[in-house]
């Protein structure tokens, strides 16, 4: 299987630095973006399998970014990250087309598992589209 290409979007630079290092250590190709607009710019130039998107960000919010991604890149899966710790914000993300959500702080292995599951779904969707 090809290396998974992940874009992590969060306004916390330290968080981005750490998550990038840790996922890369787990054989994931990681790009980072500090906000929604930067994320959309990145996606325009770089094919990406999974976007890990923080819900609460200054400027363009996570939910607005998600809506744009869903509109432009149907095969890219999105996993929402929320510091609220509530199911509700995650459910809101899913209702707008996110694949899954995770509550902060999380276990890196749980995140990796979800990334892989998201990739699998992206792959199936792609295969299905090609068949069609």
């Amino acid at each position: 299987m090809d290396r998974v290409r992940v874009l992590v979007v969060d306004d916390e630079a330290d968080f981005l630095k750490l998550i990038k290092r840790r996922l890369e250590k787990r054989n994931v190709e990681v790009s980072v973006a500090p906000g929604g607009r930067e994320a959309l710019d990145h996606l325009a130039g770089q094919p990406t399998d999974v976007v890990i998107l923080d819900v609460r960000m200054p400027g363009m919010s996570g939910i607005d970014t998600l809506k744009e991604i869903r509109k432009r890149y149907r095969e890219t899966e999105v996993i929402m990250l929320t510091g609220h710790g509530s199911v509700q914000s995650g459910i809101e993300g899913i209702s707008h087309g996110a694949y899954d959500y995770m509550l902060k702080p999380f276990n890196i292995d749980d995140l990796l598992e979800r990334i892989r599951a998201a990739c699998e779904r992206a792959r199936l969707k792609k295969a299905e589209r090609e068949r069609a």
Binding site: I19, R56, T82, H84, G85, F106
Partner: protein, 561 residues
């Protein structure tokens, strides 16, 4: 409002009610009494005047009759005929028979000597030419004397009429029996201490007074100015209030004095007054009792309403406090979760480096592993706190389903069986088998019961008892969860539902459990109460309505990203 304030309020209302009721009542009583007394007094006075007037008239009639009798005898006979002893005695017998009060008859010549006399005394040779009454009679033609002792030496009075016959003048004189006259006067006396007598112009008694005044003695009347009609005189004698009606007689200077004892005459009025006073007293007592009972009832209701309002205010304050703290908790939790993520990822990154063997093998690596574990453990602990805070802040519409509280409680107790056994705690369940189903959110109620049971276990520690009881309430079901722990101090009982209030050692309790329980139950339309006694234990009583209906517009606040 303190107890003293209620006492003051009760007193003020009592005084106001009594004042507004009793003052008009007593004013009315006073007016009735004074009016009644005055009109009764007036009536007594006019009655006394009438009696005196009528009796004086009667005495006048008596005297007039005697005078007319004598004038008829004098007019129908001549001096010569009456000078005949036998003829006079015949006339006297006739007169005496008609008027027994006339006890003798005498014919007196113009020289003052008795020409003839018929009566019980021997007065034939008596000469009256020096007697004042003889001259008066000769002068005026009619003379009625005052009572005097005279030759007879007993109280009597005389009536003399003058007759002119040709060139001769003579007088027919009669003695009037004082006893008969006294009897007439005494008929007027009324009551036990009433009196009636005749006095002359100088106040000398003409008939005896009932209480010691003998004929020709001085009457004990106060000075007064005669008006020519019936006079009324009042005075006090030996502490007795007396009133006299004094009526003048037409033919003489005599006055008829009718005396009444004021108190005695007023006794019917006094009896009526006592009756009225008694009635007023009963009315006043009834008003006082009514005021006491009604004011007591009003103040009691007020006290109850104030208490209910205070409880409601406290509930509103608590609810507002919860809402504010909920918002605060949500904000704080979110802000903490982000740095927690970074800390956790930092620790994870160190662990990744160690696991890759990049640091080689040394004791420092072991220390680093341990430190990383500590960081992760404490991040997890902090995460638990923030998630609970967010759970506290969350406001989600509860589900509506039929819930068997007994079953739910039994199931929840079973979750904690291992812990209970391990701590040697006995759980006694007393479930009402006829407990109705309630429509509520089973998961949230289970969280509540779980939380309360965990608290009970923590309160006991080891070796104790937890009692779980269910029972039907008024449109609700009630559950008691009682532990045999140390109990909560009185100063802490009121704080147990406050967020972040805990008595557990630092790091062991978030202080959010009971406040979540509180807000959950409020959200479900129920409530919670706590009773605790040091050394005996603590009982939490939760109440849940049979059906909880969400009121539109009162939906609990929610938050969004």
């Amino acid at each position: 409002m303190t107890d003293t304030s209620y006492t003051r309020l009760r007193l003020s209302l009592m005084l106001l009610t009594l004042g507004l009721s009793l003052v008009p009542l007593f004013a009315l009583g006073f007016v009735i009494d004074s009016e009644f007394r005055e009109s009764y007094g007036d009536k007594l006075t006019s009655n006394l005047k009438l009696v005196a007037h009528n009796k004086a008239d009667a005495l006048d009639v008596f005297l007039t009759e005697r005078v007319v009798q004598l004038e008829m005898v004098a007019g129908m006979n001549t001096l010569d005929s009456l000078s005949n002893q036998q003829a006079l005695e015949l006339v006297f017998d006739t007169v005496h028979e008609a008027s027994p009060s006339i006890i003798d008859l005498g014919v007196i010549g113009q020289n003052g000597r008795h020409v003839a006399y018929s009566g019980p005394f021997d007065l034939r040779d008596v000469n009256y030419k020096d007697e004042p009454w003889f001259h008066q009679a000769m002068l005026k033609g009619l003379y009625i004397s005052d009572v005097f002792m005279g030759f007879r030496n007993f109280p009597h009075f005389i009536i003399a009429v003058k007759r002119r016959e040709g060139g001769r003048t003579w007088i027919l004189r009669a003695t009037i029996d004082s006893d008969i006259f006294t009897g007439l006067v005494r008929n007027v006396q009324s009551g036990a201490s009433g009196d009636a007598y005749l006095v002359n112009r100088e106040g000398v008694l003409q008939t005896p007074s009932r209480f010691g005044g003998k004929v020709l003695g001085q009457a004990s009347l106060p000075a007064y100015r005669p008006s020519g009609d019936v006079d009324v005189v009042r005075w006090t004698e030996d502490g007795t209030e007396l009133v006299a009606g004094i009526a003048p007689l037409a033919h003489t200077d005599w006055r008829l004095v009718v005396i009444e004892n004021q108190q005695e005459e007023l006794s019917p009025l006094l009896r009526a007054q006592s009756l009225i006073f008694g009635l007023f007293l009963i009315c006043a007592l009834m008003i006082a009792a009514g005021a006491y009972l009604s004011v007591g009832s009003v103040v009691k209701r007020l006290q109850k309403a104030d208490k209910a309002r205070a409880a409601m205010d406290a509930a509103v304050v608590q609810s507002n406090k919860m809402a504010s703290l909920g918002k605060l908790a949500a904000g704080v939790a979110h802000e903490i979760n982000n740095p927690l993520s970074i800390i956790r990822e930092s620790a994870g990154w160190i662990r990744d480096i160690i696991n890759d063997g990049e640091l080689g093998e040394s004791t420092a690596v072991d220390d680093l592993q341990e430190a990383t574990s500590d960081i992760e453990r404490h991040v997890e602990r902090a995460r638990t706190v923030t998630h609970r805070m967010l759970g506290f802040a969350r406001r989600m519409e509860p589900l509506q389903e039929d819930v068997d509280l007994n079953m739910l409680a039994r199931q929840t107790v079973s979750f904690l069986e291992n812990e209970i056994r391990h701590r040697n705690i006995e759980v006694e369940c007393r479930f009402d088998q006829d407990l109705p189903l309630i429509t509520t959110d089973a998961n949230q109620i289970q969280q509540v019961i779980l939380n309360l049971l965990e608290n009970a276990i923590d309160a006991i520690g080891h070796d104790g008892c937890i009692e779980v009881e269910t029972r039907p309430g008024d449109g609700a079901v009630v559950m008691d969860i009682a532990d045999s722990g140390e109990g909560i101090s009185p100063e802490n009982v009121s704080k147990v539902f406050d967020p972040f209030f805990t008595t557990k050692p630092t790091g062991e309790g978030t202080g959010l459990g009971l406040s979540i329980v509180y807000s959950t139950l409020k959200k479900l339309g129920g409530g919670i109460d706590v009773r605790s006694e040091r050394g005996v234990g603590t009982t939490f009583t939760i109440t849940l309505p049979l059906v909880h209906v969400s009121i539109p517009g009162r939906q609990e606040e929610s938050w969004t990203e």
